[in-house]
């Protein structure tokens, strides 16, 4: 008698996301739990987007500053640099719009986005500053400026989703919906956004990211629960791709900053810092992230190798 492999039965399929205008990038589409190639279809690999900012970052630690300090004064040069080292997508964070930063206006932000879109071919993710009131002003204007470029706009939250969702649908964009580490709230926000008329299959869930050692397991288990609810329990409101905004959280941790002199036991800062980002990223792939936003090119490379190696067993 031959051995019968017990397979999970699935009741959902994650929508496919194809974004960008000239050059496109894609992710999503899975019909089984992450990397369960023996149980379902995986038309796309997870995608990694390189994060850039619209203003010279003040909080990038040394290890990451080294990589980008020659280009970070100009987001176009920064984006082109990322492209030159193999980026498939860019995530532009409009950090300057935050009231505690430069508090730059919606129009200034829209202007920057337009110029960037004119200059680069890569698909673009446009992120606000995570200041809910300011994002509610900025993101609609930016979404309108990027009309027709088929971008991903983020992040809509419970307190500001209305204007952002309306502008994103009008501009023909995808939308990131962020809730705070809670599967019920993630579902609720998706219901609210779809009730505005925003298409359900153009929503990307951000369950709120975290870094290894800093609440990592909360994000991990919320992601797991969302994916299980969406695919196995057939909860259509949670059957959506997920994003992990990895770099933003990882590069705040002490492990990416403390020097070898400060803590000799922790070993090489360089290796430690980029591994912190890579390990966080790879782990979120296992819990169901389809899109990763990352910073360090070497961490991206390690994560990409991880994805390639896992995908090499697909169909075997």
């Amino acid at each position: 008698m031959s051995l019968q492999i017990v397979k999970e039965t699935y009741n959902g399929k994650i929508p496919e996301i194809v974004f960008g205008r000239d050059k496109k990038a894609s992710f999503g589409g899975a019909s089984a739990l992450p990397f369960h190639f023996f149980e379902g279809e995986f038309p796309h690999k997870p995608l990694i987007a390189f994060e850039i900012q619209d203003v010279t970052p003040e909080d990038y630690p040394e290890e990451i500053a080294k990589v980008y300090s020659s280009v970070w004064d100009d987001s176009i040069r920064w984006a082109k640099f990322c492209e030159s080292i193999g980026a498939e997508a860019i995530a532009l964070r409009l950090a300057s719009t935050h009231p505690d930063s430069k508090d730059s206006s919606s129009e200034q932000a829209a202007d920057k986005v337009k110029k960037l879109l004119d200059e680069i071919n890569l698909p673009l993710i446009i992120l606000g500053s995570n200041h809910t009131e300011k994002d509610a002003e900025v993101l609609p204007v930016v979404a309108d400026a990027a009309r027709g470029y088929n971008c991903i706009i983020g992040k809509a939250q419970e307190s500001n989703y209305k204007t952002i969702a309306a502008a994103s649908v009008a501009g023909g964009h995808y939308l990131i919906a962020m809730s705070e580490l809670d599967v019920n709230l993630a579902k609720q926000l998706d219901i609210l956004i779809t009730q505005t008329g925003f298409p359900k299959d153009k929503i990307i869930i951000d369950p709120m990211c975290s870094a290894l050692g800093y609440g990592f397991e909360y994000t991990y288990s919320v992601m797991e629960r969302i994916r299980i609810a969406g695919l196995i329990q057939g909860d259509t409101m949670l059957c959506q791709p997920m994003v992990a905004d990895v770099g933003f959280y990882v590069w705040k941790t002490k492990e990416t900053q403390a020097s070898e002199v400060e803590i000799p036991d922790w070993g090489s800062l360089h290796e430690r810092a980029l591994m912190w980002e890579a390990v966080t990223a790879c782990s979120f792939l296992i819990s169901g992230a389809d899109l990763l936003i990352m910073r360090h090119p070497e961490a991206v490379k390690i994560t990409q190798t991880f994805i390639e190696e896992l995908f090499s067993i697909k169909g075997k």
Partner: protein, 260 residues
């Protein structure tokens, strides 16, 4: 929980008149309303239909399926009308359901039809001796119905056991016997037997304002016992279904759970 919309019944004056006049509009409207409230199947109850039963069943099945993409539960005691319905039914959205057979030998022909068209069938736990007295008697009849269905070559997974909901105003103690029967029916097989009820008979004969109250609470209890299907007014039970699914963990809670 398979929700079957009950409203297209010969008992309703509006439906009866539409059937007589062959007026499609009211039929379609009622089908669509039930679909909008979450019906996954539409019941077409044409009664005994002794005159022109076949034509009547064909007409109503076609009319329903012209308006909603759902399968139809065929309710008639007329075997020829039943077969006509089975023949004309469009299986694109699922198989039709035969409503119903029982231990009454006159109804065995329905088993034959279920086997011939390989469709599911409702088996009422009504014995030769009339209405069952309690849950245990319902189980005895259920076992005999299961034996019969095997005799006719019908898979037990195609049988919906109906414990027969009786009127609360006349047979109050039967309500809890029905609940118990649903629980016991599931244990008669592995995988568990499917169960079904015609819910609103519970409140037949009760004041109009009480009917939805009685139906809804009873339905919540039936769901808790694991009922698989129900012939109901979908608008009346939709909140119960969603809420009980949340309480029992089948659906993930969100503040707007009633709106989806």
């Amino acid at each position: 929980m398979l929700i079957i919309g009950e409203r297209l019944s010969i008992i309703s004056k509006k439906v009866r008149e539409a059937l007589i006049k062959k007026d499609k509009e009211p039929i379609k409207q009622i089908a669509i309303e039930q679909w909008n409230f979450g019906a996954q199947m539409i019941e077409a109850n044409i009664g005994p239909a002794e005159n022109r039963g076949e034509e009547l069943m064909e007409w109503i099945v076609t009319t329903i399926q012209e308006s909603v993409p759902l399968p139809v539960s065929l309710d008639t005691t007329n075997p020829a009308a039943m077969e006509a319905g089975l023949k004309i039914h469009n299986n694109q959205w699922g198989k039709p359901l035969i409503n119903s057979t029982s231990l009454d030998p006159e109804r065995f022909i329905m088993f034959e039809l279920a086997a011939k068209y390989s469709v599911p069938i409702i088996a009422l736990t009504v014995g030769k001796g009339g209405l069952p007295r309690d849950a245990e008697e319902r189980v005895e009849i259920a076992v005999q119905l299961m034996e019969k269905s095997v005799e006719y070559g019908i898979s037990l997974e195609d049988i919906y056991l109906d414990p027969l909901v009786l009127q609360i105003s006349g047979s109050q103690n039967q309500a809890k016997e029905v609940l118990k029967a649903v629980r016991l029916f599931h244990e008669l097989n592995d995988p568990p037997m499917k169960t079904i009820v015609g819910l609103s008979n519970l409140s037949n004969g009760c004041p109009k304002h009480l009917r939805p109250v009685l139906n809804k609470y009873f339905f919540a209890l039936l769901m808790y016992e694991g009922l698989s299907a129900a012939i109901v007014n979908p608008a009346e039970v939709i909140e119960v279904v969603k809420t009980i699914n949340v309480i029992t963990g089948k659906t993930l809670y969100a503040h707007s759970y009633l709106e989806i």
